[in-house]
Amino acid sequence: MMDPDVVKMVHGAGGVEMQKFIKNYILKYLSGSGAEVPLEFLDDSSVYNGVVLKSDTYTVKPIFFPGSDIGRLAVAGSVNDMLMIGAEPKALAMGLVIEEGFPFNDLERILESVSKTASEAGVYVITGDTKVVEKGALDKIIINMSGIGFRHRYLDHNIGVVAKYRGGVDFRWLLDRNIRPGDKIILTGYIGDHAIALLSVREGVGFKIDIESDASPLNEIVDKALEVGGVVAMKDPTRGGLANLLNEWSDKSGYGIKIYEDKIPIRDEVRAACGYLGLDPLELGNEGKAVIAVVGEKAEEVLDAIRGTELGRHAEIIGEVTDEYKFVVMETVIGGRRIVPQPIGDPVPRIC
């Protein structure tokens, strides 16, 4: 049987298939800008003339879920992607596409949430657009959240610290390809909460669990980490989760990553739900976590600074970059070793 030549859910699911899709279609037509950090780097944001630019679109289902909603998610998601390459987010542009018949009540709840989250993140929505489509043309509401930011006030200091330990650096932004053997990898808290919280209220799946989405802007964590210095790369484990993130780092840098299963913070409830649903917590999307690669010498100090923040209390050093091999390897709880493959796609669709 031939696969029909159409876009499928997996092409937007943040794994191997989405990477192929972006390379074969998007980059084929849209690369070659010559920007300082161009589209073809496929990092969390791009940089043009010192301006950090990000665009992201949110189609989460359901739109309200434990601990968060599509509005909070949109602000946190776009702000975090700018933070991750070393920017301070400054302003947002919001595009709303709304299905005819959508209740004003729900719309107000979402807008209030956008406003509140934006103020947490220190940004304003300063432009936008609204479209309404006929009933059935989309599922309730889609939000596009784009934004600009500028070089983080501590970024040059941070890179200076990296240069001191590495004897020089060849980067100006915190990109995926920057990681090198000896760097330690910090995860800022529990993984899997967002995807499991969403699934717990999803039609046809639903189960009782005391887990809330982690969707949050990560400004404070990034500020503290960069203030200490030594950070070489940051990325938020959204679609495809930690497994996808680490494989992207490994691919783009050409180095291997070793992680320790017993160091990865996962709540018992999330672990249990994953067992029940046949999901791997490493592949689940998060919306309020960062994975931060730090030069080995500064890792403990950066970890302490992150643990001093509200959202980073449960941060752990989960592994390190190595040149022993070129892929992601996990030492399991019982001391065995196994490869952590890049997921084909996030096993849970429409989570962001």
Binding site: M1, D262, D268, A272, G275, Y325, F327, V329, M330, E331, T332, V333, I334, G335, G336, R337, R338, I339, P341, I344
Partner: protein
């Protein structure tokens, strides 16, 4: 008092306990030559691969997967029969998702053949099948019964309770204990010990294995599915080999008993009888095929439409070495198609289809070289 599930899981994944058992395995390994241990369950293979258990074992202790995945050993003839029947008689096939992707002797799976013009619905349980048939009385349905003694009892239970008259069945269910008898006796399979399947044995009990054990004693350990369970089972087998006293031992005593689930077994044998059953890649194993008893002819598609009872070894696709993988003679990386032409998204051999198939499990863990070498 009492541990809740969370604590039990922690105990059975405890790193310190694991290290102690592994140390013991290493100590024992110095007292034996090469030891080949076979397990016969997809879930055991998953645990072993997922927790990297092979990477912890000494070079002379090897654990291989045997015939432990229902989709892998499902006769190609039955896949071909159900496709032809569905087309000829305009039936809607109710099948498990993985079964629908296994290719028959014609080279086509149920999923592939759908385009020829019959209806296929994926179900998760016999209960689903029952409800679909009940709420679509104007359609005729056939449920493809594939699995072991773990799933066959629920089908038997539904049939005893009564099913809608627009629902018939094709039984390709297989009984696990005789397959262990086959492994023990087979001249081309060299095994020094067997890890018995915990789920299946929870239903059948240990008792049916006794005659196979007595026919040719070999270390046999009934094992659970957490990493500590599997490590202890390997340790117990080595202990038996060193002592020279072979026994049927129960590591999974929190679930497996001598008599098993008597109620399930009674239900099972009220509906089914045992015939010699064909296992794809292996051949016919005496008394291993569940077929409907005569009083259930009215729901038995094989009887109603005179379908052939599979009796000749079904061919594997060209170049595919699933037959040797199912027998544990080679590992997936030794198959020329593995991860080249045969991949989880486009499986060729049956072992790449189901999540219980050895090739599929290795592929999902990206094992491309000798297990444990990274």
């Amino acid at each position: 008092m009492g541990l809740d599930l969370k604590d039990i899981l922690k105990l059975y994944r405890d790193p310190i306990l694991a290290r102690r058992i592994v140390d013991k395995i290493w100590e024992y390994s110095k007292k034996v030559d090469k030891v080949m241990i076979m397990h016969v369950c997809g879930t055991h293979e998953w645990t072993i691969t997922h927790y990297g258990i092979r990477s912890l074992l000494p070079d002379n202790i090897e654990v291989r997967a045997g015939p432990g995945c229902p989709v892998c050993i499902l006769p190609a003839q039955d896949i071909d029969s159900i496709i032809k029947l569905a087309l000829d008689e305009d039936l809607t096939v109710l099948s498990y998702g993985d079964v629908s992707r296994a290719k028959g002797g014609s080279g086509y799976s149920l999923e592939d053949s759908k385009a020829l013009g019959f209806d296929l619905k994926i179900v998760y349980s016999i209960q689903d099948a029952y409800e679909i048939a009940l709420s679509n009385k104007d359609r005729k349905f056939i449920f493809f019964g594939v699995g072991f003694d773990t799933t066959a009892p629920s089908t038997a239970y539904m049939i005893l309770k009564g099913v809608p008259d627009n629902l018939i069945f094709l039984s390709s269910y297989r009984y696990v204990p005789p397959s262990i008898g086959y492994i023990i006796q087979a001249e081309d399979i060299m095994v020094d010990g067997i890890i018995n399947p915990g789920h299946s044995s929870t239903v059948t009990g240990m008792a049916p294995y006794r005659k196979y054990f007595e026919s040719k004693p070999i270390p046999m350990v009934f094992s659970g599915f957490e990493p500590i369970d599997v490590l202890i089972s390997i340790y117990m087998i080595l202990r038996q080999i060193i002592s020279g006293e072979y026994r049927m031992e129960n590591e999974y005593s929190r679930s497996v008993t001598w008599d098993g689930n008597v109620k399930a077994m009674n239900t099972l044998f009220k509906v089914f009888k045992l015939l010699d059953g064909l296992w794809r890649g292996i051949g016919v194993i005496d008394g291993s095929g569940f077929e409907f008893k005569d009083e259930f002819r009215n729901i038995n598609a094989r009887y109603l439409y005179d379908l052939e009872y599979p009796n000749k070894d079904s061919h594997m696709p060209s170049g595919c070495r699933c037959a040797d993988i199912i027998k544990g003679k080679i590992t997936p990386i030794e198959c020329p198609l593995y991860m080249k032409m045969c991949r989880p998204d486009k499986p060729i051999g049956p072992c790449m289809v189901s999540i219980e198939g050895t090739c599929r499990i290795w592929a999902e863990h990206m094992i491309l070289s000798k297990a444990g070498e990274t």
